[in-house]
């Protein structure tokens, strides 16, 4: 699909790319202060974007630059969840929370292989608004995060707000890897403020948040693939073996061509996912997002693994950008459910249609 970036999107992406080349590991608050955070919010909420097209432009730049910044977890997931469950004041608070380095995180997943696949909810909220339970892999969370937690109550599933430092709140197994921070979070009679209640609206809000964040994941994947491809292309052109450049070998030329094809198609599927997210009817939207996920996860694996392989021993070292890109691509390919999971969802979503 042809989906040119707007001038604003291009300017944001260019600025982010320039900045990240000098500062590849910015703190979240730093990135927020540069104004990037606004891309995830509509103007009414104090942002300057809010569409999948807006956040994709930024996330692709993050991927291109190889920055260790989990935008999808720290910003996109809570931003979209808040859009569905919170009033304007609370939504405005997230921008502030990001800007001072703390943030909101979405505490949902308990069992299952991925956020998107997590349907069980053993965490409960009682009549007084106290939450008890354990949440696994809360992406982007750290001890200073306020939490948007899914919990079952008398009215069905709901989403509630738990402030940072609330009584009975325990972060354990905080995983500090800057590339994908997460924590396991336990609640024990922790006071919370219910935001919405009811299975249908709560699940719809969680699904919308996951969809929005997934577009960010796909965009970052395309950016990472692009970087890994470019590094490999330059390597084939300069590295000499057996008295000639690697690029003189047809088998390597064709492997590079296949990497390029995978990247080109991924870009087209990213555009489709972005457009479907922002404009399509629900059935088409789901199918396009699942299809984009499947294709980009498969392509990312192929491009990343080829980049590693074509660099020889260097390919499995920490210092090689393409090696780090591949490692990240596999992370991105697993969050919110991988290719197999989304293929099954795609088939279910399109099953009855010719």
């Amino acid at each position: 699909m042809y989906l040119p970036q707007t001038d604003e999107q291009r300017m944001l992406a260019d600025a982010a790319l320039r900045y990240l080349h000098g500062t590849p590991q910015p703190a979240l608050g730093e990135a927020a202060r540069l104004g990037w955070i606004g891309a995830a919010f509509a103007e009414a909420d104090g942002g300057h974007g809010g569409s999948a097209a807006d956040i994709a432009a930024l996330c692709e730049a993050i991927g291109r630059a190889g920055a260790t910044l989990s935008w999808f977890a720290a910003v996109l997931l809570p931003a979209m969840l808040l859009r569905h469950v919170a009033d304007a004041a609370l939504r405005a608070r997230l921008i502030g929370a990001c800007a001072d380095g703390s943030a909101f995180a979405v505490a949902h997943q308990e069992a299952g292989t991925a956020f998107e696949a997590s349907s069980a909810c053993a965490t409960v909220i009682d009549a007084r608004g106290a939450v008890t339970g354990v949440k696994q892999r809360v992406w982007g969370a750290h001890a200073g995060s306020a939490l948007l937690v899914s919990a079952a109550g008398a009215g069905g599933l709901g989403i509630a707000l738990v402030e940072a430092g609330a009584p009975g709140l325990r972060f354990d197994a905080v995983h500090a890897d800057a590339s994908l921070p997460w924590a396991r979070v336990a609640f024990d009679g922790t006071p919370a403020r219910p935001l919405i209640t009811g299975d249908a609206p709560a699940r719809a809000a969680l699904a919308a948040a996951a969809d929005f964040a997934l577009v960010g994941v796909l965009a970052e994947s395309v950016g990472r693939m692009h970087a890994a491809f470019e590094e490999t292309r330059a390597w084939l052109a300069t590295r000499r073996q057996f008295g000639r450049p690697l690029a003189a070998n047809q088998v390597l030329q064709h492997r590079l061509a296949d990497m390029f094809i995978a990247l080109e198609e991924s870009r087209s599927m990213l555009n489709l996912a972005i457009h479907a997210h922002d404009h399509a009817a629900p059935a088409d939207r789901g199918a396009a997002l699942h299809a984009g996920r499947v294709h980009i996860a498969n392509a990312a694996r192929m491009v990343g693994q080829s980049a590693v392989h074509l660099h020889g021993a260097m390919g499995i070292t920490e210092e090689l950008g393409a090696a780090r890109a591949y490692r990240r691509l596999e992370q991105l390919g697993a969050v919110f459910g991988g290719a197999d999971h989304h293929l099954a969802r795609y088939v279910a979503a399109t099953g009855g249609r010719p």
Binding site: Y2, A257, E264, V347
Partner: protein, 394 residues
């Protein structure tokens, strides 16, 4: 999405195309195309004349020569509508006159050639074939050896062409010949129009892997071709033959044909029993089909991205070659799926079993035929080479 590229005018045009198909294209013809039947020359000529009567046979020609002044989007839309409605193809194989020679004459032909040769093509009154490949020159087309010597105002042509599709139906052949054996391979080639009924032309049929006859070998033994039937300058034939329209490069993705077969793969599975269950309910089949559908979307969305870029004035460069690689490879795998779905029923028997539930024999015949797609018209390896050349320093 194609929809995103359409204007209101394009949508009205699409309605017009659909109305034309409904009103004018015989239903039994479309049914035979849908069933993968082997059509005859009469079928194709009748179809081309239907299009010609509507002014839609020679769409890619300049308007002044009887073509349509369409945007790239409209060409794409038109082809997709015809293919999805099971109209017979009119492409570079079955429409050599309208789709290959016509545009070449419009660009490189003399006024006299255009005046004489274009009207019968517009009316589908002649059948042209393409004489490029030779026994020693396939993917490496510039190695061609058929010799044309100028004697007075005639070329005398001797040599042999092979894999010449539908030469047995043809009145004329667009023929690449060597006119300067001393020049480097690409520089010594000329583009001649040769009368297939002339003395010295012999057509030998070659049976194809699917049991059908489309291939031929053509022997040329001192065939005389008037100089007036050379297109372009002497030794400039390579450039002429290489001039493929953007439209044809997009068509190499086979998007509409693939969509149709994906639908077929769904509907066929409804009727096939797989160990007491409908095949359509078997997870293995649904996953395999779903995976192919997603790949088809990736190819389609890439073709549409390039189409959109073209409309925006920044057409794609060599990367467009990937469409043929991926489109043909996917098409082949889709036929593998269709045949696997039919199981033993896809094994050709003579005569076909009366209870063949899914036209399995036609699937198998077309599967066999489609193996040629990755080697014809610039093999997948040639295309990957084009891509790599554009990505790496010389």
């Amino acid at each position: 999405m194609l929809e995103a590229l359409l204007t209101d005018d394009d949508r009205r045009f699409r309605d017009e195309v659909r109305a034309f198909i409904d009103a004018s294209v015989p239903r039994d013809l479309r049914e035979r195309v849908a069933a993968g039947a082997d059509l005859g020359k009469d079928d194709y000529v009748a179809w081309q004349r239907l299009l010609a009567a509507k002014g839609w046979l020679t769409t890619t020609w300049p308007a002044a020569e009887g073509g349509c002044d369409w945007s790239p989007v409209r060409h794409y839309l038109f082809e997709e509508e015809l293919a999805l409605a099971d109209c017979p193809p009119v492409g570079l194989t079955l429409g050599v006159g309208a789709k290959l020679l016509g545009p070449i004459l419009c660009e490189f032909g003399s006024a006299a050639q255009r005046a004489r040769l274009l009207p019968p093509i517009r009316a589908s009154a002649v059948w042209w074939c393409q004489g490029y490949s030779e026994p020693g020159a396939g993917s490496d087309l510039a190695a061609l050896a058929t010799r044309a010597e100028l004697r007075g105002d005639e070329y005398v042509v001797s040599g042999t062409k092979i894999w010449t599709s539908y030469a047995h139906w043809a009145d004329g052949m667009c023929c690449l010949v060597r006119t300067d054996p001393a020049a480097r391979p690409q520089a010594g080639i000329s583009f001649l129009l040769l009368d297939m009924h002339a003395p010295g032309v012999t057509v030998r049929p070659i049976a194809a892997i699917n049991g059908r006859h489309f291939f031929n070998q053509v022997f040329l033994d001192e065939v005389r071709v008037p100089v007036a039937l050379r297109v372009g300058a002497e030794n400039d034939g390579w450039r002429i033959a290489k001039s493929l329209l953007l439209h044809e490069r997009l068509a190499a993705a086979r998007v509409a044909e693939t969509k149709k077969r994906l639908r077929l793969a769904r509907s066929v599975a409804e009727r096939i029993d797989f160990g007491g269950r409908r095949l359509a309910d078997c997870d293995w089949y649904r996953m395999r089909l779903g995976a192919l559908e997603i790949e088809a979307r990736a190819i389609e969305q890439t073709a549409l991205r390039y189409l959109g870029q073209t409309m925006a004035g920044t057409p794609p460069g060599p990367e467009i070659a990937l469409l043929k690689v991926r489109g043909t490879e996917l098409y082949q795998r889709l036929y593998d799926l269709l045949c696997d779905a039919c199981g033993e029923a896809a094994i050709p028997l003579a005569p076909p079993a009366a209870d063949d539930p899914a036209a399995a024999h036609a699937f198998n015949a077309n599967r066999m035929y489609a193996r040629g797609f990755t080697s014809a018209a610039g093999s997948s390896e040639v295309q990957r080479g084009i891509l790599a050349k554009s990505l790496l320093p010389a």
